[in-house]
Amino acid sequence: MVSLRPNGVYTKAQLQKELETLATCGMFERVDLEGKTNPDGSIKVTISFLESTWQSAEKFRCINVGLMPQTKPVEMDPDMTDKEKLDFFISQEKDYRRRIDRARPCLLPTPIYRDVMKMLSDQGKVTARSLQKIRDTVQKWYHDEGYACAQVVNFGNLNTKEVVCEVVEGDITQLLIQFQDKLGNVVEGNTQFPVVWRELPKQLRVGHVFNIEAGKQALRNINSLGLFSNIEVNPRPDEKSEGGIIVEIKLKELDQKSAEVSTEWSIVPGRQGHPTLASIQPGGTVSFEHRNIKGLNRSFLGSVTTSNFFNPQDDLAFKFEYVHPYIDGVYSPKNRTFRTSCFNSRKLSPVFTGGPGLDEVPPIWVDRSGVKANITENLTRQSKLTYGLVVEEITTRDESSHIAIAGQRVLPNGGISADGPPTTLSDTGIDRVAFLQANITRDNTKFVNGAIVGDRNVFQVDQGLGIGSKNPLFNRHQLTLTRFLQLKNVEEGAGKPPPPVLVLHGHYGGCVGDLPSYDAFTLGGPYSVRGYNMGELGAARSILELAAELRIPIKNTHAYIFAEHGNDLGTSKDLKGNPTEVYRRMGQGSSYGAGVKLGLVRAEYAVDHNSGTGAIFFRFGERF
């Protein structure tokens, strides 16, 4: 409280000011400052004080005086008679009572009340020091709970049985959204206010008490829009309103338009297994984006990928997409986004690959081009429902890009015959089909110290409409259930170790009706049964994949052991031409192994139970 320091030099005016400050701070009844000159010329300053005390109190009460004018201390006229003094005190009390009634209750919970009242009853007389302690206790609770703008402004009703603590909690009086350019100057933004406003939690709106957690939530929500490079949520006091807080949201918008060209060279195994460039000519992608159209987060994206920049028509894949959020209106609480795109892609078919016995199976390439349109309803931040229509043309080609109507078979005498399983429904190599697609994802996962915990269920349906080549009518459905079970309760916090997790995963896929080979379910692969190549176990009408993985935290990453199984449920023969048999695949298989996560890469050793051999794999991303 005292600002004078030993060995400091002070003027008489400074000493006078110090005395005044101490006298008017309300803690002391009387303050005296005495200075005695020492033989060496320095001054010994003695401050003697009498602490203000009031009568002991039994009750404690806390009121929220935010947005109310401060009480001004009324000077008592020293010439008043005793009766006048009494009247004065009574009217003061009445005024204060009215103030208490007008004030709002504060957020302080019962346990804190109990603590304070215990403090008061222990103390006996109420002193300035005990008031300080009460102020510290109350403010600490508010600040710990995130109410960073809360303050104890006054104590009232002293010298009565009930001590009243006046608190300003930090009520929000205004919400400002401000756009800044890269240098920090205020500009007119492109994004429309309702787009930002709908991402704010209710607790940040006018009339609520400012809480820093609400601010953090707002930051996360606005960030997920993907429209801003920098977001700040700052409270500042409102000059025009006592105790009011203005919440300022400062946003720096990302560039609306961007274009990018990236080139790549593929490294593939060459002679003797040495890695070589697949080709001198690079492949690459040209992409462009036009974002936040009309300030409503609508975007138009396009990308064109080729494996040979110098002769692009060899192998061209493109995708153009238009995304239109808030189709129910930007003020609607529903969050539905409309997406439409036209695409063209080319993939190697895992249906026409061989089992472990066959080395060279002539591959079949599946070209898909078409348009799709769908609506995604974001039910929570993680769960969503998507439904829409897809119209596509599928062409199956052989290695030399000629249209292939059937897979090729390697004859026992080494020759090749073209009477393998048919590749398309129409048997012409080109199929056109239109179907409805729906997907519902229920995702209750969350992160506990970096480990994913919870469960995720996905159900997807493709419903053929009988429109297309040979009027395809089908119902192709998949159900995926994944459970991440936390095996041990751990304390949550930064730097704390994650819990061990047991992952249980099941995937069932089935189809009733017309099923061409390019839509068949395949078994084997890093996202199907680890340890086998994609499609190595077979292709079938329905499949079941099961996996279990036990994750154990070590140091600052985790190691795991796993076991997986994939089964065609006997439905390989229900696929026209039975490609599983023709290419000598088992139809089912299991694998097991162990691995460790190193940053973004998983290094694992997997044993293929069908052949009994194991191998080391490096994979990016998550298996589940």
């Binding site: 957020l107 919970p109 019962t110 346990p111 709970e145 995130g146 939690p201 209710k202 607790q203 609520h208 008490v209 809480n211 957690e213 609400a214 016995g357 039910l379 929570t380 769960s383 429902l385 078979r409 004859l411 026992p412 015959s417 429904l425 729906a438 519902i440 229920r442 209750n444 269920n457 159900f459 349906v461 419903q463 009518l473 089908f474 119902n475 459905h477 009733v512 009706g513 017309d514 099923l515 009408r541 023969k573 229900d574 696929l575 026209k576 048999e581 023709v582 000598r584």
Partner: protein, 310 residues
């Protein structure tokens, strides 16, 4: 094969008299049941003696056989008639090539048999082989998948090279019994036949096609157990035909199999309706998730739900 003149079963005359008598007697019983033709399908691995058996039954060298040469590359049907009865035997290429079941051979056999009815299947293997493995099961499975489980109700196992001396310690009967059991087990597993089905009592016939085959007093070819095998083979075939089951008509539907794309198609509207309800149910569950989600203290206090507890 209507319109073609079927050759006379002249080979029957080179059998010893005792054999001829018995054969004609059996043909007679067939005629009494108004059966005037039989189609016998002979299948098995390569080199087991299918063509030799055909030659033995017909009594002529109709099919080329050579110890080291690979066999017939395509199915061939030998037809002979006698006393108003026509015998058709279909000799087939071996079903195994390169250690795997030869799908092309099976496809060829199926197309060859289009619109014909198989009365009897003779599955041929050697008596003097000791092991039965996965490959045998795969062959049985392939036959079952191609012609249906019912073919095993009209089948008999033929074990060739039956004139052998069994290994030390085993009598001929014991050896035969063990070998039969092993093969019958494989047929049951590969054909997914239940114990109580007819095929479990599938006959196993011993056959010795070489010229060295011992003969009895009547000059008939006999086996080490004393049985004259040619009449026995024919009798068994006739028993199989008369066991109450039906022959297998190899029509287009059988060859192509039931179209899996058309199966259960009419279920689709019901399935789609059930899926729609499932999606709505999951949507409801997600709504519950939102309600149950544990809110932080600051949210609860704000909506007045904290009740001053914290």
């Amino acid at each position: 094969m209507a319109g073609q003149i079927v050759r006379e079963w002249s080979g029957i005359q080179q059998f010893p008299l005792a054999t001829q008598t018995k054969l004609l007697e059996y043909l007679g019983t067939l005629k009494q049941e108004n059966v005037d033709s039989l189609t016998i399908l002979v299948m098995g691995k390569g080199g087991v003696g299918k063509s030799s058996t055909v030659n033995s039954v017909i009594g002529e060298r109709v099919v080329a056989v050579s110890a080291f040469q690979s066999e017939a590359s395509r199915p061939v049907m030998i037809s002979r008639s006698r006393a108003g009865f026509t015998l058709n035997i279909v000799d087939t290429p071996g079903l195994v090539e390169g250690g795997y079941v030869n799908d092309r051979a099976i496809d060829m056999i199926k197309s060859f048999l289009l619109d014909k009815t198989i009365d009897v299947l003779l599955y041929v293997d050697r008596l003097d082989a000791y092991r039965v493995d996965t490959l045998d099961r795969q062959i049985i499975k392939a036959i079952t998948d191609s012609f249906g489980k019912e073919i095993w109700n009209r089948a008999a196992i033929v074990l060739t090279h039956a004139q052998l001396s069994p290994p030390d310690g085993l009598s001929y009967e014991d050896f035969f019994s063990k070998r039969s059991e092993a093969l019958l087990k494989v047929v049951r597993l590969g054909g997914r036949i239940k114990k109580q089905d007819l095929a479990f009592s599938m006959p196993v016939i011993l056959v010795e096609n070489s010229g060295r085959c011992n003969k009895n007093e009547s000059g008939e070819k006999v086996l080490p157990n004393g049985i004259s095998w040619i009449p026995k083979l024919v009798k068994t075939i006739i028993d199989v035909v008369s066991n109450g089951s039906n022959g297998i008509l190899v029509d287009k539907k059988l060859i192509e199999g039931p179209n899996p794309n058309e199966q259960h198609k009419w279920w689709i509207p019901l399935i789609a309706a059930a899926q729609y309800l499932l999606v709505q149910k999951i949507r409801g569950l997600i709504k519950d998730d939102i309600a149950k989600e544990s809110k932080a203290a600051w949210e609860l206090r704000d909506i007045g739900a904290a009740k001053r507890k914290f």
